[in-house]
Structures are given as C-alpha cells and as structure tokens.
Amino acid sequence: MGPQHPSTHGVLRLVLSLKGEMVQKVEPHCGYIHRGMEKMTETMTYQQIIHLTDRLDYLSAHMNNAAVCLAVEKALDIEVPERVKVIRTIMDELARIASHQLWWCSFGMDLGGLTCFFYGLRDREKILDIFEETTGSRLIQSYNCPGGLMADLDPNFQKKVKDFIKYFRKILPEYDELLSGNIIMMERAKGVGVMSKEQAISFGMTGPSGRGSGFSCDVRKHHPYHAYDRVKFNEVLRTEGDTYARYMVRLDEMRESMNIIEQLIDNIPTGDVAVKMKPIIKLPEGEYYQRVESARGEFGVYIISKGEKNPYRMKFRSPNFCNLSALDTLARGQKIADLVAIGGSLDYIIPDIDR
C-alpha cells in the first residue's frame, strides 16, 4: 500500500501481510521525503532553524516554531513580553483548529464522505486568511522567532478572530450532523483499532490519538508554557481507545480551543512584540529540552549546545513518528478498509515522520 495512495496523505509505504482481507502485519517503510533536517541544523543558526521546523508538521507550524523559540529563550534566560505569550497562545489554538478541520475533512473523505471535504476546507480558509493578514503566509508562517514575534498583529486581527469563532460555533454542530452521527461512519469506526491506555503510553502515542485511549498527555496542562497556565480549559479524554474515540476527541478539542481563544482575545496586553536579540545567538554550553502540544501530540526539541552559534546536536521528537509505530498493533486482525480508517484517525503528516 503506497507510497502513492490516497489514504496515506503523503508518501508513506505500508507493507501489508494479509490473510484474505485480514491484516496480519503492517510494516511502515519511511524515508521517502527524508530531508536530513537534524543534520542540517548542525550548520545553521537558531534563527534559520525556525524555517525548518515549519516544514516538519506543516499544519502545526506555529507550535513547532514555538518549541525552538522557547528552548532558546529558556537557555538564555529571556522572559518574553506578556503580549507575545498571549499572541502565541491564540495563534497556536487557531492553528490547532485549522489542523483539526483539515483532518476532519480528509477523514470523512477517506471513509467515502466527500461532502466533508468541502465543508472542512471552506471553514479552514477563514483561519488561513487571518494568518495571511498578520504573518504574510498561509501555511508555513515562521511567525515566532527567538525573543518574540516577527511582526505585530494586523489591526483587523481581533475582529476577524471573533467573527470566525461566532461563525464556527454555529457551523460545528453541522459537522456532527454530517459525520459523527452517521450510521455508516459509526459502523466503520466504533470498536475498530482499539488501543489500551497502557499500550498508548508505552508507544508514546500522544495528542488526540493518545487521549482517545485515556492517556492524559496534554503538555499544555502538565507542563504549561505560553499563557496556558492562566486560561481555563479541559483536557479532552475518552476511554474507548477506538477510531471513534480519537475522532470525537478532535472534535471536542476544537471547542476547547475556541474557549481558550475567547478568554484571551479581548485582553491582549499592549507592549513590544519582541525582545531585542543579537543577530547571532550563541547558546551557553549545556542541554535543553522543550516540549509543546502540537495538533498531533507532543512535539519536543532537544538541543545539545557547545556554546557555538549552531547546535552540536538537535533532535526533533515528532509525535507522528511515535504514533506511526503503534499502527501495526492497531491494525492487526482488522480488514484492509479498516486500516484506512485507523490511519485516518491517527492523522499522520509524513514530513513530520521523515524529518
């Protein structure tokens, strides 16, 4: 199956061992778009690395950038202005909603419901417009930089975000009507690809996929960063551990993200959007780790610095790579068509796996 297959949403090859239509074993073959990013970082400055992390999980570009920025800021003991923290939080949550919208529409399409695809993309467009106005880019924004943000908000930002939330609160129940309660969808998702909590922890399956199995792994809750310690939100958890649970977690997370944005959007502090940084940043010798919650799970950056302008070793802990390792366990004993549903519910982004 693959490397060119509509359900893998990228170049991933799965070697299947089958007995009739039943999957006996799934063996992922990665590396079709391996770019050697960890090697590349060893010759780049920290400001340049920002533009690489965008291209890992391109739907969580803000969060990935923030991880590198936070690691650098922590290493240098820099406290970013309050305004930056709040804007970063709002941007992260907007990116999360946009990412889940795209996941929802392509998950529906994987199961044969083409209408979802148009609904999801139509609504995601509104968030991309907001991103474009402020950051100048729609997909890979590179908006965060060590010390703050690349640019200040667009004057229309607050109004546009509020309009979007008003609009999307009305639209979200339609997602449920269209797909969540659909009998064909439920038959194909309930009880399919079940993973227990212990297994999910052992596989390091984080994000909505892990929380569908009851693994409380939300970095925003357990190791708060940005402004997450001052907003109220629930960590969405379900215990069934099947494809349907992972589906429902993502839908509920969109509601939680809107709650977070609503708490912050009216009181963005005034002030600078960046601390003045040197053009070449040298991190003091040592090791630094920073984790953030991307749309797909825990994204981590591990930096070993020898005091130079570029890292001695940099490792990206990619959530999709860990989630992919659980695919074999999830799909064994299921049908080939179920593998498509399971893969869709894991929501993997191939560039993040291959790095």
């Binding site: 090697k39 297994q199 090791e287 780790y289 981590g300 802990r317």
Partner: protein, 149 residues
C-alpha cells in the same frame, strides 16, 4: 517525588549510577551493561513508575557514542534524563524496546544515523535511509561525498 528522593531510590537500585542535577532535569549516567536491569526497575518500581519514554536521541560525543533517554512518569509527572554511552569502534547498547515499545522505531533511527548496535533488538534495520547507504550521517566524521544521489 523530588529530585533528591529520586536520587536516593535510584542509587538504592543501582549503586554504580551517577546522578547530577542539570539546569533543567535530573541526569543519570549508567554503564551499558547495567542499563537493561535498571530500565526494568525504572518502569516497574511503583514509586518511580517511569512508564513514558518521550524521547530517545543518539548522539556522537566525539570519542564515544551515546544514547539519551527522556523518561516521565504519567502518574507523578517527574522527569529523568538517562545517558548511556558506548565505545565508538563497537557501539553496543542493550535494547529497551520490550520495556517501552516506542523505542523500537527510535532505536532503528539511532542505528540508521549513528550506527549504534542495540543488542537483542528484534528488527534492527535502517528506517529512513536506503539499505545500501554507506556510513552513518550523524557521526561527526561522516563524509557526505561517499554517497552520490
């Protein structure tokens, strides 16, 4: 558990382990031959309960190769960083992928990029690069010109 309590209970299990408090986390350095039994205890011990391996990194330190494990307990949320190093000529480290399943792919990655041999690993092959790829790209003495694409 506080870092001091963690230190005490780990030293009780493995007296040869070296613990030091880094800037961010508690670091633990252990010899490769002691690592597997300590890993079992780190996960199995009810007070430690490090059940979540959230990162595994292979590193070339210059004269040695090493693996850095980031562990967290999902119950107590304490974090520890374990470092195991190996000789560069014959880098052998026991696999821990039967304790934390996520390590299976991560160890294949460390093997792919640094050539670290994880003993008893069920399926130690390259994961990203081609089977015919020469050398290990993340080693500091790697010469990129040996592979032409």
């Amino acid at each position: 558990m506080t870092n001091q309590e963690l230190k005490d209970s780990i030293l009780k299990i493995e007296p040869t382990a070296v613990l030091d408090e880094g800037k961010q986390c508690l670091n633990l350095t252990v010899a490769a031959d002691k690592w597997y039994s300590l890993a079992q205890q780190l996960k199995g011990n009810k007070e430690l309960a490090f059940d979540y391996l959230f990162n595994l990194t292979g590193v070339d330190y210059g004269d040695t190769l090493g693996v850095v494990y980031h562990l967290e307990s999902t119950m107590f949320h304490h974090v520890i960083v374990v470092k195991v190093s190996a000789d560069k000529q014959n880098p052998q480290i026991p696999t821990i992928c039967d304790i934390w399943r996520t390590a299976e792919f991560h160890e294949r990655e460390a093997f792919d990029f640094l050539g670290i041999q994880f003993t008893n690993h069920p399926d130690l092959r390259r994961i990203f690069l081609d089977e015919e790829w020469k050398g290990y790209p993340l080693r500091k003495d790697y010469d990129p010109s040996v592979n032409t694409i």
